[in-house]
Symmetry: C2
Subunit: 355 residues, 2 copies
């Protein structure tokens, strides 16, 4: 089983090192190879996703990804900016199904900005389509407007689009995920305004008929953004497009209060996957040894489960993380009075010890 390890920028290297340590402690037959990505790759090889890194990722069973980005690359041309690496990996590997759990850990309920009773026990799974929508739709660019409010003016444009098979496959992913949970799917759209999302809604409804054991409801994206704040526990599995999923999954993870704990998985049709924490590269705290490695460690667990068929090992990691939390160990981001503050490395060591 081959794993491409791409640490990236900011806190990426520190948190990935801890996840690698945990994987190594498991006594599985894993071959891990590291390559640069993002700003680090731009520095090393002149491109955020160098051909050698992409090749390694494509040839591996799974990618363990840290984070990319730093203010210092903000002035580069768009194709050279760190985030192009992640867009490129999604596109070239065909990672269309993004799993973003938003879980509120019992021990961390107080860390949420929401009142504890609204988030205690929260467990939402957001499934975001990741290779379509306005992220990749062509044509896009700048031109002179031919119509609209100001014909003759300079304008910029992008194309939102979804084809039937793209919607069908992500809908199947969502309904099948719901079958293993509480059998409810909320499909989020903007069918009252967008052709693309009326089509989305029609097809999700159609596919839903093949899953009579799963209850399906539909919600407009603006309403979903409100309901997440008002009553997050009403949601179980949420499925939506790339753009709305970007916004809603970040909103949902932040409201748990412990975004430093949340893993994510992005899968393609062959089960190959990219695994990364839900949080970003946090350049402001990079190198200080205070970042929380648990989201990355839990991403490694998802990797074992989804791409490497090592369910037992995945559960071992998850139990170890539960144990260190129960033991009161906390990195700075989730620290509260009465718990023990530990460094990035100490947290990784504690998870290894708890395995």
């Amino acid at each position: 089983m081959k794993i491409a390890v791409l640490p990236g920028d900011g806190i990426g290297p520190e948190i990935v090192a801890e996840a690698v340590k945990v994987l190594n402690a498991l006594d599985l037959d894993l071959e891990m190879e590291t390559a640069p990505v993002g700003g680090a790759a731009y520095e090393a090889a002149g491109h955020p996703l160098p051909p050698a890194t992409l090749k390694l990722a494509m040839e591996s069973d799974a990618v363990l990804f840290g984070a990319v980005g730093d203010w210092k690359y903000d002035t580069l041309d768009r194709p050279l900016r760190p985030e192009q690496a992640i867009l490129g990996l999604r596109k070239h590997m065909g990672l269309f199904a993004n799993f973003r759990p938003a879980i509120c850990y019992k021990e961390l309920t107080h860390a949420s900005s929401l009142k504890p009773e609204l988030v205690a026990g929260l467990d939402i799974l957001i499934i975001r389509e990741l290779t379509g929508d306005i992220y990749f739709g062509q044509p896009r660019g700048r031109r002179i407007a031919e119509d609209g409010h100001f014909p003759g003016a300079e304008e910029a444009f992008d194309t939102m689009r979804y084809s039937r098979p793209e919607i069908e496959r992500i809908a199947h992913v969502a309904f099948q995920a719901a079958q293993k949970r509480s059998k409810r799917v909320t499909s989020v759209d903007k069918a009252n305004v967008l052709e693309t999302f009326q089509f989305w809604k029609d097809i999700v409804t159609e596919i839903g008929k093949q899953y009579p054991d799963v209850a399906l409801d539909h919600m407009y994206v603006d309403n979903a953004a409100m309901q997440l704040v008002k009553e997050p526990k009403r949601f179980d599995v949420v499925v939506t497009g790339n753009m709305f999923g970007d916004i809603l999954s970040d909103e949902a993870s932040m409201l748990t209060g412990s975004i430093g704990m949340l893993p994510s998985a992005s899968l393609n049709a062959q089960g190959q996957g990219l695994y990364e924490p839900s949080h970003g590269s946090a350049p402001d705290i990079a190198g200080k040894g205070i970042a929380n490695p648990l989201a990355t460690i839990l991403s490694a667990a998802m990797m074992l489960r989804f791409s490497l068929q090592q369910e037992a090992a995945a559960q071992k990691i998850e139990a170890a993380v539960q144990k260190v939390l129960a033991d009161g160990l906390r990195t700075a981001d989730i620290y509260s009075e009465g718990t023990t503050k530990v460094s990035t490395r100490e947290m990784g060591d504690a998870v290894v010890a708890a395995l």
Copy 2:
């Protein structure tokens, strides 16, 4: 001064009646004419925005709008659905600048799902561009995909677009609004992915140079959705496009906990405006006399201020609303122990009495 009164569906007629009562109590020279809109207009005239209603709106100085929509119209063809009325009014009247305050009233801090210390004193002004973006961009529709992941498959698509003058004018609106407040503007974009919003960011930055007294920062929409939950008070004026504004303004109003209190204004270049509550038509509670009329009454105050140049009268209404809140009067949506629960009509009467 001529006002088109469009009550609409659900609780629309009840809450608009109270706002009209308040306006009538002010002794201004207002000519008000009522017309059907939304589902009510579909029933009466076969179209959600009948020509006579549109004509009345166009000829008036301002439109006082209730709310549109009801589940029972969900099966109609899109062009006949109630929300087409509001899109049509925006388009035909050229209402490009939408003002959505998200204010947390001192007396209602407890009603927020956020911890009180995070929302106490919150006062954000979201300025949403309202006639461009993917809402109105052409082309849009269904077709057979020529490229993408599944060439030959059926697909649906929409066009996101902004022209330079569209961005310039909304940027000016935002900077000028900030000059009257705490002189900070956050422009929300997705420049890391979308051509349209890289253009947006470039032009907002350019226009910002004309307002050296206003501090401008930029934030990606996914991060903005997170920061609103995490630390809403970091925002003052937020300016963004139609689609992102739809999502973020609803998220922000819900986190105040008192969406039943929040007005909105949509203005065109001539100062004509449409004024409506931020909340929807709530068909589930329609006709029960329990809806909160204050958002609509405060929308009438905005109308007096922005379209009718009656600042003194606007302030009178706002002071009266403050007084009824201070007196402990509450409709069901904002009721809490120790306050006095009142009906829609009693609330309207109390505001009139407090004028």
